[in-house]
Structures are given as structure tokens and as C-alpha cells.
């Protein structure tokens, strides 16, 4: 999980942040496609996409370079949900998000100080255990002292949730970008490559890990508070859904761990694929989803972005992207033919699957070709 080179000119450093701002600003106009009472469905779908982008990018900021595989996303996301459930009636959404983020930050910092001395699988298991611990602790408390199982969350208009998450995504993406360029990011990468060596050259490894873990938990908690307002009713198993720990990891692996764009691409692709498969291919959903994951891990261990990143030839990079786009177009055409024949299959399923297939096949063809050239 190496960090890519962070060089470039002073002007070059501004290009990506400006693109991020421009894209997010452009997206904010999606709210005009509906009304506050009746948003368009694209806004609803984007709330899920933006939510997963926050989770995946946050996970990648800490776990990507450091190599500490945290499965605590569901824990802090769930805390955010409960903050909304408890205070949603009295506080506006931005305040709820900040409060949820602050609580997540403090708890993550405390837990980090205790557990980030653990390494490898011990840390991973502990973070997963944290999800279950919080779930059952809150369930026990609610049943014992409040005599209830679930809580209603005050609903907030989708457009407001969308804009709030858009701002959060902007902050998280800019943070991800600048952390990669900073000494702090270098320290995190150093920890991932050899923690003892990093400590030897003067990096306060525990401090760096705790700050990164807590800061990313802030964003996860804030995302939970925003998403809760669209869920309306929650209980501990719903709030602390363990899948929320695994999905961001899968998205990052698919897109490319340790890269800037990988988690974003993974979050977008997986959310759209999930939405399309569950609505059009419900019986095939998990089979197709599982197959995509297995193929990705076996043939693209560095993810989509990582695979392109390790190609040295710019021509090959362009060719691979072109081929992928071509396969997506074929998938789109195939969809149109089936739709014309009266078969409803979901507009983006085949373009996405064809695109992934084209990418996997030709990325490996290029890799073998390179191997033969070297031989």
C-alpha cells in the first residue's frame, strides 16, 4: 500500500483540489431536478454514493497507507446514527454532524490510544469487536432502562442531506489529497512500510496513528448522522450493521487501496451496481457481486487505479482506459437491444460489468506482454 509520488509543481498541486470543488459544485445543482418535498431519485441515489465515498475515503486515509486494517467503520457510523436519533428533533443537521463527528473522534482517540499498540490481525479483530460491543451495549441499555428496542429519527429533506454530505465529501477528499502530500502522510506511509524504522527515525508512531484514526472516525460519525435522517427508524442491529464495516473495505480494494481515486471509483461503482442488481437482478445480486469481488482480488490485487498506476507506459494506460470505455459502450448497446426486446435489465448493469471485464482482461494481457518483452 505505497503512497504514490506526491511531487509536482506548485500550480499542479492546485489542479486536483480545484477539480474536486468544481465537480462537487456541479453536483450541487442536482437538487434543482426536484423540489424539497419531492426530490428526484438521482439525489436519493447520490446520498448513498456520497455516504459510501466518505466511508471508503476515510477508511483509506488511515488504513491505506498505515496497513492497519480497521473494521470499526460500522461502530462510528452507528454512533453517528444514534446521535441523530437522540438529538435530531432539536438540532439542525450540520450541528448533528459536527456533534456526531466530535463524539466519534473522542471515542476513537480513546480506543486508539489503547489499541493502536496492537498490530496486524489483533487490531483488526478488536475493531470488529468494537462494532458488536457497541451494538449489544446500546441494545442492553435501551431494553433495560428505556424499555424500547428502536428509535425514530427526525426526517430531513433529501436535498439537505445531499448538500450536507456533499460538503463532507469535499472536506474528506481535500483532506485525503493534502494528507498524501504532507509530512503526516509520509509518516503514515512509513508506518505501513516498516513501523519500527519509522519510529527509529523519529516518528511518534502512536500519535500519528491515533490522530489519523480519530480524524477519519470524525468523518464516519458525521456521515452516520446525515444518513440516519433518511433511515427514519433505527435500532442497534440496524445502526451497527457490520456490513458497513466491510463494504468500504471492499470498495477500496476494488478501486485501489492507497490511491486517491480508488476509493471514490469503488464507492460509485459498487453503489450503482448494488442498486441496479438488487432492483433488476435480485436473485443474482450476491452471485454477481461476489464474482466481481473474487475476480478483482485475483486479477487486480491493486484495484483499478492501482493497476493503471503501476503501468509505466502512458500509451498502455490510455489504451486500457479506451478499451474499458469501449467495453462499457458495448454493454450499453447490449442493454439497449435487450430493452428494445422488452427485457428490463437495469441500464447500468451491463455497461459496468462489461467495463470491469474489459479492464481485467486487457490489464492482464498488457501485464503478460510486458513480461514477455522483459524476457
Amino acid at each position: 500500500m505505497n503512497r504514490s509520488n506526491g511531487g509536482g509543481s506548485r500550480i499542479g498541486q492546485y489542479i486536483i483540489p480545484i477539480i474536486i470543488i468544481a465537480v462537487l459544485f456541479g453536483l450541487s445543482f442536482l437538487t434543482r431536478t426536484g423540489t424539497s418535498m419531492r426530490p428526484s431519485y438521482i439525489v436519493v441515489l447520490f446520498v448513498s454514493i456520497l455516504n459510501y465515498i466518505v466511508l471508503a475515503v476515510s477508511w483509506n486515509i488511515f488504513s491505506g497507507p498505515s496497513g492497519y486494517i480497521a473494521l470499526s467503520t460500522a461502530a462510528f457510523f452507528g454512533l453517528g446514527i444514534y446521535v441523530s436519533a437522540l438529538f435530531g428533533e432539536s438540532l439542525p443537521l450540520p450541528v448533528l454532524m459536527i456533534l456526531a463527528g466530535a463524539i466519534s473522534f473522542v471515542i476513537a482517540a480513546i480506543i486508539g490510544v489503547i489499541t493502536l499498540r496492537l498490530r496486524g490481525v489483533y487490531f483488526t479483530i478488536f475493531t470488529f469487536g468494537l462494532v458488536l460491543l457497541l451494538q449489544y451495549l446500546i441494545l442492553w441499555y435501551e431494553v433495560k432502562f428505556n424499555n424500547l428496542r428502536g428509535r425514530t429519527v427526525a426526517s430531513v429533506p433529501y436535498n439537505t442531506v445531499f448538500l450536507s454530505l456533499l460538503v463532507l465529501v469535499g472536506i474528506v477528499l481535500l483532506a485525503a489529497y493534502f494528507v498524501r502530500k504532507s509530512r503526516f502522510g509520509m509518516a503514515l506511509s512509513g508506518i505501513g512500510e516498516c513501523e519500527d524504522a519509522a519510529a527509529h527515525v523519529g516518528v511518534n508512531t502512536t500519535m500519528v496513528k491515533v490522530i489519523a484514526f480519530a480524524a477519519t472516525s470524525f468523518a464516519i460519525g458525521a456521515a452516520g448522522a446525515a444518513k440516519a435522517t433518511t433511515m427514519i427508524y433505527i435500532d442497534p442491529p440496524i445502526a451497527f450493521n457490520v456490513m458497513m464495516s466491510f463494504m468500504p473495505v471492499l470498495m477500496v480494494i476494488f478501486g485501489g487501496a492507497g490511491t486517491f481515486l480508488g476509493p471514490i471509483i469503488g464507492a460509485i461503482a459498487f453503489t450503482i451496481l448494488q442498486e441496479q442488481l438488487t432492483t433488476k437482478w435480485p436473485k443474482w445480486y450476491m452471485i454477481i457481486f461476489g464474482t466481481v469481488m473474487i475476480i478483482s482480488i485475483v486479477f487486480l490485487p491493486k484495484g483499478l487505479v492501482g493497476t493503471i498506476g503501476e503501468m509505466k507506459s502512458m500509451q498502455k494506460k490510455i489504451a486500457l482506459l479506451g478499451i474499458t470505455a469501449g467495453f462499457m459502450l458495448i454493454g450499453f448497446g447490449f442493454t439497449q437491444i435487450l430493452e428494445a426486446a422488452g427485457v428490463s435489465i437495469g441500464g447500468l448493469v451491463f455497461p459496468l460489468l462489461f467495463g470491469i471485464a474489459g479492464f481485467v482482461i486487457f490489464a492482464n494481457v498488457f501485464k503478460r506482454h510486458k513480461g514477455k518483452e522483459a524476457a
Partner: protein, 424 residues
């Protein structure tokens, strides 16, 4: 990048987004929600549902409401559709069902999809009380009717006034706990051991039972809560056995009830009465617990049977016939007839009011009586009136689900004390 440039960038970013948000809000304020309109080109009634077809709640769609709504759509369309006066013709139903994978996020998003993208005319309810609690406000927000199915609770009922388009259909603790008390008193039971699941159902039933039992002079030996995913019920069943209570009551679901019964058989624990929560009324309980003999004498929340009325008998026959090729199907002697009645109510309301306008139909449902498979039913405070139910408690007797309420719904006298467990 210097600290100053970094902060400047953030400020610019926040400013641009804020401007975008403000302009959006101002546009929204100028717009208004459009009301119901008649589409002259309409050829079908779009009915949408988000159901758990996979995941932990999938068994409910397979065995509870699922068989009912599938048969209803089939029967309606076989008859040419539902006559809608404002269209002057019968319109067939097109059913759109999305799988929420038993996930709340998916469920809420997919209801939005049904409403905002598919523009369905009607919504069917999701699986489970928790999901229904989230779906009802969404339906209400967009002016849709939502007639409940598997889910429902006292907590949800408290908010009925907020959701004028929501109708609760199953009988719950407020009627079933008094029915249990009446039966226990009638049969001379003096003490009970209560196991309840840490779920809305378990919490509400146990909460209602405590004062009701106390008032009736029935001693509660213990009230034990269990998590939904408890791995081993042996210690709790052993505790119940050692308590010496006359009655074992389980306000819990099949994943707890069935193993608890199996353990009771293994331990030779056979109290005078066993009352089982949801799942006890499923025909499939017999398969899980050793056939007719395996459930003999067990009392369950419910209930109705083919002796309740000729219409009920016909419904049971039709439902079994329609689902005969479905290996997951088994009759539910609590919910099935109620779920189907809710769909018949919707159909009769459309025919009676002559419109697909959900708000008009909500009023029509509140103010009219309906002749359905349950017999004549009507709603009081957005709930099916209690006297419309065909029973609150059932008991397996020779593999048949007798209604054993201590009132006129009874179809057979209860067998108390419960017979010894049959040898397996």
C-alpha cells in the same frame, strides 16, 4: 502548499457550496407539490413493494405476506383488473417488487425509487416492524396509503394520527395479552415464566403482560430477555423448568421458539401450558418440531382456521392451491387471512371510491365496512376493529390449529394440561 493557501481553498469551497445551497433552497420555496392527476393513457395500476427476498428477513416474505400479495395480484389480473370509475374501465395490476436484502438503508432508498422514479400508484408494506416504522413516514410524506402486514406495534400505533394513510392490521399485545390472561384464569393457571426477545414485539408484549398478570393474580416467576441471535437456549429453558411455573410463555420469534421447544423436549420439561409467539402459527412449525405430535398442545398467537367461517375455509383452500408448487409455503394461522384481507380492502376501496387517489382512499377506508375473507371488517382508529378478528390464540390439536380464546371465537376447548411430549 502553505497553511494560508490551504485555508483559503477551504473557504472558497465552503462559500461556493453555500451559494449553491442557498440558490437551491430559494428555487424550492417557489415550487409547490402537485396533487393527484388522472392520466388518460393509463393502462395499468402500478403497485410497488420493497420486500426482504434475501437476508435474515427473507423467510417472512416467503411464508407470510408474500404468498398473499402474489395470489391477490394473480386473482385480480385473472379477473381483468380492478374497475376504476374515473377511468371507466378495469385496470390490471403491474407489481414491482424490489429486494431490500433485509437492509434498512436499501429499504428506505428503494421506497424512494418506487415513488420518485417508478411513480407507482400504491405501496405495499415492507417486512418487519422496524422496517414498517421507517416505511410509513416515507409513504406518508408523499401522500401514499400504507396498509401494514407483518409489522406493527403499539409504538407505531401511537403515531397513527401523524400518518393518516397508515392502517394497522394484525392484532397485537393490547388484545392478545387480555386474551392470554382470560385463558390462563379460565384454566386455573397460577404462575408463568416469560421469555421475551429483545425486539419491539418481545418488549411490548412483556411490558403489557407484567401489569395484566399482576392484576389477574398470576405470579410471574421470571421475565427473561434474550437477544435475537442467542446461541444456546438451554440455560434459560432449564431455569424455566426449575421455576416450577405452570405456564411457559415465549414472546419471541422462530429462531428462539423452535430451539427452546426442542431443548424442553430433551430435558423432559413439559409445563401445563406453553404459549409461543410469532412462528407458532406457521404450518412449517410442525416440520421444525417433529410433525403433528411434536407441536401437540402448544398454544400460539393468532388465530383462525377453516372452521372460523366458510369464507375463511375457501381462502385457506385457495391460498394452499395457489402456492402448492412453492416449497417454502406453509399456512400461517395468524397472519395470512389478515394480510389478504388488507389487500381486499384496498381493492374494494378503489372500486367503491372509483379513484386511485390515495388520500380519497384513506378516507374511504376509515369510513366504510368491507366484506373480505375474514368476513365483514372495518377500521377503528386506523386499526382493524378487534371484533373483526377470528381469534387471538390458537392451539395445535392433532395437527389442526384450533382457536382457543375464552370467548365466542373458540372452535375447540383447549387441551390443558398440555399432553406429554411424543417420543421421537
Amino acid at each position: 502548499m502553505s497553511k494560508k493557501s490551504f485555508l483559503s481553498l477551504f473557504l472558497v469551497f465552503a462559500l461556493i457550496l453555500s451559494l449553491g445551497a442557498v440558490s437551491t433552497v430559494s428555487v424550492q420555496a417557489a415550487e409547490s407539490e402537485s396533487g393527484y392527476t388522472i392520466d388518460p393513457d393509463k393502462t395499468e395500476i402500478l403497485v410497488g413493494a420493497v420486500r426482504s427476498q434475501t437476508g435474515v428477513f427473507a423467510m417472512f416474505d416467503q411464508t407470510a405476506f408474500g404468498p398473499c400479495y402474489r395470489m391477490w395480484v394473480d386473482k385480480v389480473n385473472a379477473d381483468g383488473g380492478i374497475y376504476v370509475e374515473e377511468y371507466g374501465k378495469k385496470l390490471p395490476i403491474k407489481l414491482i417488487v424490489y429486494d431490500d436484502t433485509s437492509d434498512m438503508n436499501q429499504m428506505t432508498q428503494l421506497y424512494q425509487k418506487l415513488i420518485l422514479e417508478d411513480h407507482v400508484d400504491f405501496l405495499l408494506p415492507p417486512v418487519s416492524t422496524a422496517f414498517l416504522s421507517a416505511a410509513v413516514p416515507i409513504a406518508s410524506q408523499y401522500g401514499y396509503l400504507m396498509i401494514g402486514a407483518e409489522g406493527g406495534s403499539d409504538t407505531l400505533k401511537e403515531s397513527l394520527a401523524k400518518y393518516p394513510g397508515f392502517f394497522s392490521v394484525l392484532n397485537y399485545s393490547e388484545t392478545q395479552i387480555p386474551a392470554i390472561v382470560d385463558l390462563l384464569l379460565e384454566q386455573g393457571m397460577e404462575s408463568a415464566y416469560i421469555i421475551y426477545i429483545q425486539d419491539t414485539h418481545g418488549i411490548e408484549y412483556s411490558t403489557a403482560a407484567e401489569p395484566a398478570f399482576k392484576e389477574a393474580g398470576i405470579e410471574i416467576k421470571a421475565m427473561t430477555s434474550v437477544p435475537a441471535d442467542i446461541a444456546d437456549m438451554t440455560p434459560i429453558v432449564t431455569d424455566a423448568m426449575n421455576s416450577g411455573a405452570d405456564v411457559l410463555i415465549m414472546f419471541a420469534y422462530p429462531q428462539i421458539n423452535y430451539p427452546a421447544i426442542s431443548i424442553a423436549k430433551t430435558l423432559g420439561y413439559n409445563p401445563k401450558m406453553i404459549i409461543m409467539g410469532p412462528g407458532g402459527s406457521f404450518e412449517s412449525a410442525k416440520a421444525a418440531l417433529g410433525g403433528d405430535a411434536g407441536v401437540e398442545g402448544i398454544i400460539f398467537e393468532g388465530a383462525w382456521n377453516t372452521k372460523s367461517s366458510p369464507e375463511a375455509a375457501q381462502f385457506a383452500k385457495d391460498l394452499a392451491e395457489f402456492n402448492k408448487d412453492d416449497p417454502n409455503f406453509g399456512m400461517d394461522w395468524w397472519g395470512h387471512i389478515v394480510y389478504y384481507a388488507s389487500l381486499e380492502v384496498l381493492q374494494q376501496a378503489i372500486e367503491g371510491a372509483g379513484t386511485l387517489d390515495n388520500s380519497v382512499l384513506a378516507e374511504y377506508i376509515k369510513n366504510n365496512h368491507f366484506n373480505v375473507s375474514m368476513g365483514e371488517i372495518w377500521f377503528e382508529n386506523q386499526e382493524i376493529a378487534h371484533e373483526c378478528f377470528l381469534g387471538d390464540l390458537g392451539q395445535w390439536q392433532n395437527g389442526y390449529p384450533e382457536v382457543v380464546d375464552a370467548d365466542e371465537d373458540r372452535t375447540a376447548d383447549p387441551i390443558v394440561p398440555k399432553p406429554e411430549w411424543a417420543a421421537e
